[in-house]
Every structure is written in structure tokens, then in C-alpha cells.
């Protein structure tokens, strides 16, 4: 009874520790993140108590609670957005599907080619997009009304920039033409357009751009439109590739990147393997092994004691271990435990594991 209870408490505490640690990563509020980490540490301290290391648990609680409180205090006093309001509204706009749920303001779609060719740009310029001033994600080939708010759609290419794209055809970096007065004017109008987007507010982050003015870098991050000049204007004269790279660098998380996914998978697998192979809990419950046996046999048999039925347990043990020869298991750990001195036990376990694996 107490063994089962211990197991339940153990599993519950470890679950709390893992879940709160994950909550620390997923929450947008600094305060909540600190609290979640603290809760995770306290659950770990509970595990320590369960394992009989209560002094360690007390030290864990004291150090981590005090440290976490001070950390939260300083963070909250210093940082711009301690409650996570801005981040939260960013999160509201992201696509909660698959791995993208973990990354903020990550550009969707494939990364564009390194250098967009001239034909591509011209083609994009010909298909003029009409968009809503309040909803930049709306884009239609024809003028009309926005399906979301009913406002009249405006052209993505305003006449000034269209004329400019004729005069400076083939130049993909209009930032280099700042001396041109007309171009400066279009830059300015682009800025105004972007501030009107910014009042919409949610998916946008202010960032000081080039030396001319501040621009809204991520206004079109969910769209990644490749429409020639309108895009270069809103991207502050970057090529699509540069813009994409910047968005990737600005993203809160790298989970969408393939190498990060591979690394995460590998470390998760490693953790699972470690959990399986580690003799948890160190003070194991009774129901796993009866009859004076001090070592769990790795097979959760509730009815059959392992030491009295050695044949069965050995078979099960070797099955668990995989394709190891039975001669290596000539000394079953159950046989050697009860008589041994306490200090030798851990060494025996280690040696046995090394031999077996």
C-alpha cells in the first residue's frame, strides 16, 4: 500500500516538475516564468524528500525560492514588458499548429532564393495586389472591399512607387538611392503606411531600421509577399532573402529550424533512454520485488516474487536486456544483495550494469 502510494506521489511530483518546467518555457510572462521554474524546483525538492534526502530538499527550496524571487524582482523592474502583454498578443497571432506553435513571428513558407532574378520581380510587379489598410493579410488581384472589415482596398503599389519602379528598373536595393528626392518621398509614404499598420498593433514589432526612419519590419512576415517594389519598400530595401534571414534571427525560438528539431528529438530520446535505464526510484517500492530482494528486476511483476523464482526472473531480465548471453548474468544482482555491505552496493550495481550493457 505504501509502496503504491510512494509510486503515485513520485510520478505526480515528477509530472509536476516536468510540466511546470515546460510551462516556464511556454509562458509569455516573466513573472509566471519565474514562478513556474520555482514550482518545478519545489517539485524536485519533493522528489528529494521522497528519496530520503530531506536536507538537500530544504536547501533546494531555500536557494531556489529566494533566488527566483530576487531574479523575478530584478527582471520585472528592468524589463520593458514584464507581464508579457506584447508577447502575448504576438502569440495570439501565430499559427498554433505543429512545431510552429513554439516559435514567435517566424516567417512562414520556404525561404526565398538567394537573389531574386529580374524577371521574377517584373512578374511580381505586374500582378498588382490590393490590400486592406487595416488587414495586411488580405490581398486580392482586383480592387474592392475588404472581406473582414468592409473598407475599400488600396493598391499595394502606390502610384509614386510604381512610377519609381519604372524609372529605376532592375535595381533591387532602392536604399542606395536615398539622394533621389522622389525616392525619399516614397520611403516616407511607405513609413506612413506602415504606421497605419502598426495601429492594428498585434503582429508588429517596432524596430529602428535604417538611418532614414523607423520602419515596421515584421508587418508582412506572415505573408512574405514577393511583389517587387512594395515588398522592398516595407522591407527597408532588403532583398527577400535578407529579410527572411532577419526574421529568422528575430524569432523567439529556433524550433522551426531543422537542426533544432533534430537536436531536440535526440535529446528527448536520450532523456527517455536514461529514464528507462536508471534505477528509479533509489528507494524502490516493495511491490516490485519481494522476499528480501534489494534490487528491482526491471519487470513489474505484481504476483511473482523475483528472488524465489530465479529462473523466471533471469529469463525476464535477459529478455529486457536484449541479446546478451546468459553467462554474463551468472551473478544475478538479487543473489548478491542482502549479504553485502552497504558501501559495496552501488559499485555492484554499476559493475553489473557495465557488464550487462
Amino acid at each position: 500500500m505504501t509502496g503504491i502510494l510512494e509510486w503515485i506521489i513520485f510520478l505526480a511530483l515528477s509530472l509536476i516538475a516536468v510540466i511546470t518546467a515546460a510551462g516556464m518555457l511556454l509562458t509569455m510572462s516573466m513573472y509566471r516564468a519565474g514562478l513556474a521554474l520555482m514550482a518545478s524546483f519545489v517539485a524536485l525538492a519533493g522528489l528529494f524528500i521522497l528519496l530520503g534526502a530531506d536536507l538537500l530538499a530544504a536547501i533546494q527550496i531555500m536557494m531556489n525560492v529566494g533566488g527566483m524571487l530576487v531574479m523575478v524582482l530584478f527582471m520585472v523592474m528592468i524589463m520593458m514588458d514584464p507581464g508579457g502583454e506584447m508577447m502575448w498578443s504576438m502569440k495570439r497571432n501565430m499559427h498554433i499548429r505543429g512545431l510552429a506553435a513554439f516559435s514567435m513571428s517566424m516567417p512562414r513558407g520556404k525561404p526565398p532564393a538567394e537573389e531574386p532574378s529580374q524577371e521574377n520581380e517584373q512578374h511580381a510587379a505586374q500582378t498588382a495586389d490590393w490590400t486592406c489598410p487595416m488587414h495586411p493579410e488580405v490581398s486580392q488581384p482586383d480592387p474592392g472591399k475588404c472581406p473582414k472589415c468592409g473598407m475599400a482596398l488600396i493598391s499595394e503599389q502606390d502610384p509614386a512607387s510604381a512610377g519609381q519602379s519604372d524609372s529605376h528598373e532592375g535595381l533591387s536595393m532602392p536604399m542606395h538611392q536615398q539622394s533621389d528626392e522622389q525616392d525619399f518621398h516614397t520611403m516616407h509614404s511607405g513609413h506612413e503606411l506602415n504606421t497605419s499598420h502598426m495601429s492594428d498593433g498585434d503582429r508588429q514589432m517596432n524596430m529602428s531600421g535604417h538611418d532614414v526612419n523607423t520602419s515596421n519590419m515584421s508587418s508582412s512576415d506572415h505573408q512574405m509577399q514577393m511583389s517587387g517594389h512594395g515588398m522592398t519598400m516595407s522591407n527597408m530595401g532588403m532583398t527577400p532573402r535578407q529579410y527572411y534571414d532577419m526574421m529568422v534571427r528575430m524569432a523567439m525560438s529556433t524550433t522551426q529550424l531543422p537542426w533544432a528539431i533534430v537536436l531536440g528529438m535526440i535529446s528527448a530520446l536520450l532523456l527517455i533512454v536514461l529514464v528507462i535505464l536508471t534505477p528509479w526510484p533509489l528507494n524502490p517500492p516493495r511491490f516490485l520485488f519481494r522476499g528480501g530482494c534489494r534490487m528491482p528486476c526491471w519487470v513489474p511483476h505484481l504476483s511473482q516474487p523475483c528472488c524465489t523464482r530465479r529462473q523466471w526472473s533471469r529469463r525476464a531480465f535477459s529478455w529486457w536486456q536484449g541479446s546478451i548471453r546468459s553467462s554474463r548474468l551468472s551473478v544475478h544482482p538479487c543473489k548478491s544483495w542482502p549479504g553485502q555491505a552497504r558501501s559495496h552496493r552501488c559499485w555492484e550495481v554499476l559493475r553489473h550494469w557495465l557488464r550487462a550493457t
Binding site: 536536507l55 525560492v65 523575478v72
Partner: protein, 310 residues
């Protein structure tokens, strides 16, 4: 099953003690002739709070706001486990009882911080900042003050500390430690001279500014209870715990605890209310060096006092 009954018993004792502490405060406030009023007042206040509307401010962090009073009460109940009421009357007697007690004082502040942070008001936020800023500055003195009896008893077990005071109470040769402990105890509970974190005047009650009804009642119970717990731990550390000549042990313990609490509350009434910076300089510039001096003195005295360093 036995454990659950024991835990419930500890909780009931704690609630009765908190009621007694509220009565004591009211007695000190009104004067000794108003015993009847003082006895009725906590009950009337509890009924009043239970009838109040259950308010939650707009924009509050609901989970933290709702859970904070419960965290406070849980932490206080956990600290109550290691207080020995008699030779075998103790909820839980680990070998590190006193350390466990000191450790659990910081999660109490977590509950206050949660309350202040979650309520989406300036008063609560300022109160949160202050509570967190004070955390270290009272934990260090209270820990160092508690080290004196530990050095003398050579044990962290609260029961053992009481037993070693059979011949001589530690207050006799560690008065400095007692003073530091009591000041820090007032600080932990944010009581009168150190009440700038929960200041009723400037911050509208600080973290309790937006609390009303049953949740405020829970917080008030938790605050009274933790003051009671701190006073009883003071009795354990310096006044021989449950030991006494004729009466049974729990009676002695309760008598000593309430006497100590009455003296501390009365004396605190004479102290001027300290400002934010004055509190911190008192803690770091006076209490901390004094507690280090106390440890040195105790270390020397244990060599000479019979039964001191056994």
C-alpha cells in the same frame, strides 16, 4: 489514515491559535477591560468577510489571484508541523526541523507576491516589490539568530532543542539572539514597525488592496497564524518550549507563546514606524552584524556554560 488525522489536528490547532492571536491583538488594541469584545471581534470579522462579495479586479491574473491565499495557508500549516507542543506532541519531527521552518518562511512571501502581482493595481505591485526586496534582509538575521540555540543544542531538531533547555533556558545567555529573532519575526509578518510592505496608509493595504471577502479572511488567518508560529518557535528556541514544573506540557507551551506574543506586540507598539530605507539599513547594518556577533558570543559561551555545548 493516521497521518491525515494528525494533519487535520495540526490544522485545527493552528486555526484555534490564530483565533487566539486575533483576540490578543484586539485586547492590546482595546485594553484589558474589553475581554468580551475582543473575544467576539474575530468571529464577527470572519462572518462579515464571509458575507462580502467575492470581487476580482478587471485584468487580474485569475489563477495567481485565487491561489495566493491558499498558498499562504498551506505554507503556514506546513511550518506548524515542526512545532513541538509536548514531549511527543509534534506533527513531524525531522532531524532538520528548524532548517525546514526557516526554509518555509520564503514561500510565504511568494504567496504575498502572487497576491500583489496578480491584482493588476499599482498598490499591489509596489507592495510586491517591497516584499521581495525584504525577503533576504529578514531571512538572514532570522537564520543567524536561530543558529545560536542550534549551536548550543548541537541539533536542528526542534524537539531536541527543547530537551537541551531542561536546565537553563537559552534566553539567559543568548538575549541578543532573542532580540534579533523577535525583530526579524515582526519583519517576516510585516507587522507594525516593519509594515511598509503591507502599509495601510500609503498603499491601501498593499497586496491586500484588491482582496475582499473569504480570500481576505484566508489571508488574515494566515498572517495571524504565521505570527503565532514565529512566536511559538521563539519559545522553542529561547524559552524552553513545553518545559515547565506543574502544569502539563502543552499548557505551558501555549502560556509561554501567548505571553511572548503579548509582550512583543506591546513593545512593538512603542517603536516608531520605519521607512523603506530605514528598514533595510536596520536589517543590513545593525541586525546582520549583531547576529554575527551573537554567533561569536554563543560560540565562546558554549565552552563555559554547563550543559551549553553538550
Amino acid at each position: 489514515m493516521n497521518t491525515i488525522v494528525l494533519a487535520l489536528l495540526v490544522l485545527v490547532c493552528l486555526l484555534v491559535g490564530a483565533y487566539g492571536m486575533a483576540v490578543l491583538q484586539q485586547l492590546i488594541l482595546l485594553g484589558p477591560r474589553h475581554v468580551g469584545v475582543a473575544l467576539q471581534w474575530p468571529i464577527a470579522n470572519a462572518l462579515l468577510l464571509l458575507r462580502q462579495e467575492d470581487l476580482m479586479p478587471r485584468g487580474a491574473d485569475g489563477f495567481l489571484f485565487r491561489s495566493a491565499p491558499f498558498i499562504a495557508l498551506v505554507v503556514v500549516s506546513l511550518t506548524a508541523l515542526v512545532i513541538p507542543l509536548g514531549p511527543h506532541l509534534i506533527g513531524f519531527d525531522p532531524s532538520i526541523g528548524l532548517f525546514y521552518f526557516v526554509v518555509l518562511l520564503s514561500p510565504f512571501v511568494v504567496s504575498l507576491m502572487n497576491a500583489g502581482w496578480s491584482q493588476n493595481s499599482k498598490e499591489g505591485l509596489f507592495s510586491t516589490f517591497r516584499a521581495a526586496a525584504y525577503l533576504v534582509s529578514y531571512e538572514v538575521p532570522i537564520g543567524f539568530a536561530a543558529i545560536g540555540p542550534v549551536m548550543a543544542a548541537q541539533s536542528l531538531s526542534t524537539q531536541r532543542i527543547v530537551e537541551t533547555q531542561a536546565g537553563l533556558w537559552y534566553v539567559v545567555w543568548q538575549p541578543l539572539g532573542l532580540v534579533i529573532y523577535l525583530l526579524a519575526a515582526l519583519f517576516v509578518t510585516f507587522r507594525h514597525p516593519f509594515d511598509s510592505a503591507l502599509a495601510g496608509d500609503e498603499l491601501e493595504g498593499g497586496v491586500f488592496a484588491e482582496y475582499a471577502g473569504p480570500r481576505l479572511l484566508l489571508f488574515k488567518i494566515a498572517l495571524d497564524a504565521i505570527f503565532l508560529i514565529l512566536m511559538s518557535m521563539g519559545v522553542v528556541l529561547f524559552f524552553g518550549g513545553w518545559q515547565g514544573p506543574w502544569l502539563p506540557a502543552p499548557v505551558w507551551f501555549v502560556l509561554k507563546t501567548f505571553l511572548l506574543a503579548a509582550i512583543v506586540l506591546l513593545a512593538a507598539g512603542f517603536l516608531p514606524r520605519l521607512r523603506h530605507d530605514q528598514i533595510l539599513s536596520l536589517s543590513w547594518k545593525i541586525l546582520l552584524p549583531a547576529s554575527l556577533l551573537n554567533i561569536t558570543l554563543v560560540g565562546i559561551l558554549t565552552l563555559f556554560i554547563p550543559g551549553g555545548g553538550r
